[in-house]
C-alpha cells in the first residue's frame, strides 16, 4: 500500500470543480438524510438519553473487552460456529482463503463490510482466483467502477444516476441512455441473482456482536446479506473486536439509534440475527483486531472504537458533503474517517485532520457520543508534534507565534497598512500567497483606525501610551 500523503484538500477541490452537478447533488442528498435523521430523532422523546446509554454501554464493553470477547467466543462456539482470530488484515484474509480453498469454493458473494474493506479482502481473493461479487447495490456499483465505497452506508452517493447508467451499460449491457433508477436496479437484480445462486459462500460483516449469546446482527435494506447467509452453504462473517455488546437487550437501544441516525428511517428493512450455523449450513466467524487493540490503548482516541458505522457524522459534515468521500483516499471518510484513518497510517493521512472546520456537528449527531470534533483537534496536535505538517505551514506558525508573543511587534506591524497586510491576514493566511483567500473572496478592508487607537484617543485621552505599551 502506498503511503504517499493524501492531499484531501486538492481532491475535494477536484470534486467541486468537476462540474455543476456532482457536488450540489451530493450535498443536497446527504443534507436530506441529515434532515430525515433530525425528524426521526425528534420523534423519540428519550433520544438524548439513548445516546448517553449507548455511549456508556460501549464504554463499558470496551473497558472490559477481554471478558466480552471470551464470552462471545464461548457462546458462538457452543452454538456451533467456528471462531477464528486475526491480528491483522493479512491473517483475516488468509483465514477466508483457507476456508474457501479447503472447500473448493471459487466464487463468493459478499454484503457490505467496512472491515473487509479495511483488509482489502476482495483484491486479495481475486488475485488468488476467487470471484467476489458485492451484493449491496451501491457496493456493486463501486466494484464495477473500480472504486472503494465513498460513504459507509451510501457507497455510491457521489455518483449520479447518469454515471451509473454508463457503468452498467459497459458491465451488464444496459441502455447507456436510460438512467431510470428503477430500470437500473432491476437490471442489476437480474444480473446479481445468477451470481447469488452460483456462489459457494456468502460473506457478511456484523453491525453488532452479542457476548451473552454469541450472536451477531447484520442490518441491510436490500436483504442482500440474508441471501448470502441463506443460499450458499457457507457463511463467513468478519467481525471487528470492537463490535461487541454485552446483552441481547442492548440491541433495543442500538437498533433504535442505528438507522434513525444513518438514514432517518425507523430501522433497516432487515435486521438479522445469526446464532450458530443455520440448518444445513456452516458458520465461520473471524474476530479481527487490525489495529483496534492499539487504538484501545490511546487515551485520547479509544472512544472512536464506539463507532457503530451509521454515517451520521458524514451526512451532517458540511466539509464531507462538499468533498465527496473518495477525496479522503481512505477506507473511512468524513469525520469518523479523519479520526480512524491516522491510526492505520499517520503519515499518509496526516492532512485529514485539517480537512474540517471543527464546527462540531459530528459530535452532536453521533449516536454513541464520540467526541469526534475534539479528537480531530487532538490529531492535529499529533501531526504538529510529529512534524507531519508541510514545512511552509510550520514556518508560518513560527512567525505568527512570534508576532503574537510581543505586543510591540504586533501593534507596530498592525498600524502600518502595508505591514498589516502581511500580519493581519496572517490570522488567515500566514505566509502563503494571498491567492487562496482571493480566488473566491475579496480581501477585507482595513480600518483607518484600529480599536486600540480609538480607545487611546477617546477612552483614555489623558493617558499617553508608554513606549512599553506600544
Amino acid at each position: 500500500m502506498s503511503s504517499k500523503r493524501v492531499d484531501v484538500a486538492a481532491n475535494a477541490a477536484a470534486f467541486i470543480d468537476k462540474d455543476d452537478i456532482h457536488e450540489p447533488f451530493h450535498d443536497e442528498h446527504l443534507w436530506a438524510a441529515r434532515m430525515k435523521r433530525d425528524a426521526a430523532a425528534r420523534a423519540v422523546p428519550e433520544w438524548e438519553a439513548l445516546r448517553d446509554l449507548a455511549s456508556q454501554i460501549k464504554a463499558h464493553t470496551l473497558t472490559h473487552l477481554d471478558h466480552y470477547l471470551e464470552l462471545f467466543e464461548a457462546n458462538a462456539t457452543r452454538h456451533g460456529a467456528k471462531v477464528y482470530w486475526a491480528r491483522d488484515a493479512a491473517e483475516h484474509n488468509q483465514h477466508v482463503l483457507d476456508i474457501l480453498s479447503s472447500r473448493n469454493i471459487n466464487s463468493v458473494i459478499k454484503s457490505k463490510s467496512m472491515l473487509q474493506e479495511e483488509c482489502n479482502m476482495t483484491a486479495f481473493l481475486e488475485t488468488r482466483g476467487i470471484t467476489v461479487t458485492e451484493s449491496d447495490l451501491g457496493e456493486r456499483i463501486q466494484q464495477l467502477d473500480n472504486q472503494p465505497p465513498s460513504h459507509i452506508v451510501m457507497p455510491a452517493i457521489h455518483k449520479t444516476a447518469g454515471d451509473i447508467a454508463e457503468i452498467f451499460a459497459k458491465a451488464i449491457g444496459t441502455d447507456p441512455n436510460n438512467a431510470d433508477p428503477q430500470y437500473l436496479t432491476e437490471a442489476m437484480r437480474q444480473d446479481a441473482r445468477q451470481r447469488f445462486l452460483k456462489a459457494g459462500a456468502g460473506m457478511t460483516g456484523a453491525n453488532f456482536a452479542i457476548a451473552e449469546t454469541g450472536s451477531f446482527v447484520v442490518c441491510t435494506n436490500e436483504g442482500n446479506a440474508d441471501i448470502g447467509a441463506s443460499v450458499p452453504p457457507v457463511h463467513i462473517a468478519s467481525i471487528g473486536i470492537e463490535k461487541l455488546l454485552p446483552k441481547v437487550q442492548d440491541l433495543g437501544i442500538f437498533i433504535r439509534l442505528l438507522s434513525r441516525s444513518a438514514l432517518g428511517t425507523l430501522a433497516t428493512q432487515y435486521t438479522s440475527h445469526f446464532t450458530g450455523p443455520r440448518n444445513g449450513g456452516e458458520l465461520h466467524i473471524i474476530l479481527t483486531d487490525n489495529g483496534r487493540s492499539k487504538r484501545l490503548g490511546l487515551p485520547d482516541f479509544w472512544h472512536s472504537l464506539k463507532c457503530i458505522r451509521c454515517g451520521a457524522c458524514m451526512n451532517t459534515c458540511p466539509v464531507y458533503r462538499r468533498s465527496g468521500g473518495l477525496a479522503y483516499g481512505a477506507t473511512y471518510s468524513g469525520p469518523i474517517g479523519i479520526i480512524l484513518d491516522p491510526t492505520f497510517d499517520e503519515s499518509k493521512y496526516s492532512e485529514l485532520p485539517y480537512h474540517s472546520t471543527l464546527c462540531g456537528s459530528c459530535t452532536e449527531v453521533c449516536p454513541v457520543k464520540i467526541d469526534i470534533s475534539d479528537q480531530i483537534l487532538k490529531w492535529r496536535k499529533v501531526m504538529a508534534e510529529k512534524k507531519y505538517l508541510p514545512i511552509s505551514r510550520r514556518l508560518a506558525f513560527g512567525a505568527a507565534g512570534k508576532v503574537f508573543e510581543h505586543p510591540g511587534l504586533f501593534h507596530g506591524a498592525e498600524t502600518a497598512a502595508s505591514a498589516a497586510m502581511k500580519i493581519t491576514p496572517h490570522f488567515l493566511l500566514y505566509n502563503r500567497s494571498l491567492n487562496p483567500w482571493g480566488r473566491h473572496r475579496e480581501l477585507p478592508h482595513f480600518a483607518k483606525q484600529t480599536f486600540r487607537e480609538w480607545y487611546l484617543q477617546y477612552k483614555q485621552p489623558d493617558k499617553e501610551p508608554s513606549p512599553k505599551e506600544l
Binding site: 484538500a9 433530525d38 430523532a41 462538499r322 480537512h355 471543527l358 462540531g360 504586533f410 480581501l443
Partner: protein, 247 residues
C-alpha cells in the same frame, strides 16, 4: 461591575466598530470597561493547527493581560471558546484557570450575567438573518444546535428580538457552518468558498438584507465571498445592532 474587554486581533484591525459597539454597549449597562493595552491574540489560530509550541506564548500573554479580572468579555465566539475549552498549551496554574473560567462571549454575558431585558436605544428596520458561529453554538452553547434534541433556545436570537424594527428571517439550514474555520479557509479554499457561497444563497433565498453575527470572523469570510460574487448583502456584528451603532 468591572469588565476587562477582550478585543480579538482581527476585530482590532478590521472591524474596530464591533469593538467600539461592545465597549459602548457594556457601558450603557453601567459596567466599568477596562481594555488591557498589551493584548494581542488568544493563540487560537496556532492551537487550531495543533501547534501548541507556538500558541503557548500567546496564551501566556493573554493570561498576563487578563488575570485578576472577575469578568473578561470578548465579542467573538471562537476566540472565547478557545480560551474556555482549549487553552491548554500552557500549564494550568490558578491564574490560568481563573482567566479561563472568567472569560465570556458578549451574547452570553448580556444574557446570562447581566440578564438584559431591553435595548431601548436600538432600532434596526431591516430583514436580517442571524449567523451564530459554530464555536458559539456547539462550543459555548449560546443556542441549541439543530442536531441536538434538547429544548430549543437561542440566546442571540432572544436578544435580537428585543430590537425594535428588526425582522429575523429563518434559513433552510439555520446553523450550517459557513466554511470559515480559521486556517481552513485558505488551506481548504475550494470547500471553504463553496460552503460560504451556499450559506449566502440561503440568505438570498430568504431575502435577508443584513447578516448579524456574534462572530465577525465568519462574517469576514462570508463578506469576502459576497463581495467577490457581487451580491448585495451587509454583514454586521451583533454588538452594533444591540448598541444602535456605530454602523
Amino acid at each position: 461591575m468591572k469588565v476587562a474587554l477582550f478585543i480579538p486581533c482581527y476585530i482590532d484591525a478590521i472591524y474596530p466598530e464591533a469593538g467600539i459597539a461592545t465597549h459602548e454597549l457594556l457601558e450603557r449597562f453601567g459596567v466599568e470597561v477596562v481594555y488591557p493595552l498589551n493584548q494581542t491574540c488568544c493563540g487560537q489560530p496556532m492551537a487550531n493547527e495543533g501547534d501548541n509550541a507556538n500558541s503557548a506564548a500567546a496564551e501566556q500573554l493573554f493570561v498576563e493581560n487578563f488575570k485578576g479580572f472577575d469578568y473578561i468579555v470578548g465579542p467573538a465566539g471562537s476566540c472565547v471558546k478557545h480560551v474556555r475549552q482549549h487553552f491548554d498549551a500552557i500549564p494550568q496554574t490558578e491564574a490560568v484557570t481563573q482567566v479561563r473560567n472568567n472569560t465570556w462571549e458578549l451574547v452570553e454575558f448580556l444574557h446570562d450575567v447581566l440578564g438584559v431585558s431591553a435595548f431601548p436605544w436600538a432600532y434596526f428596520r431591516y430583514k436580517a438573518s442571524l449567523h451564530n458561529s459554530c464555536s458559539s453554538i456547539r462550543g459555548l452553547h449560546i443556542a441549541q444546535p439543530s442536531e441536538h434534541m434538547g429544548p430549543y433556545f437561542n440566546k442571540s436570537e432572544k436578544l435580537l428580538q428585543m430590537v425594535e424594527g428588526l425582522e429575523l428571517v429563518q434559513l433552510d439550514r439555520p446553523d450550517e457552518c459557513c466554511g470559515f474555520g480559521g486556517t481552513f479557509c485558505v488551506t481548504d479554499e475550494a470547500v471553504s468558498a463553496r460552503m460560504g457561497l451556499d450559506r449566502i444563497h440561503d440568505y438570498l433565498r430568504h431575502e435577508a438584507e443584513f447578516i448579524i453575527s456574534p462572530d465577525m470572523s465568519c462574517l469576514m469570510h462570508q463578506q469576502g465571498i459576497a463581495r467577490k460574487a457581487g451580491m448585495h448583502l451587509k454583514f454586521i456584528h451583533i454588538a452594533q445592532v444591540l448598541n444602535g451603532g456605530p454602523f
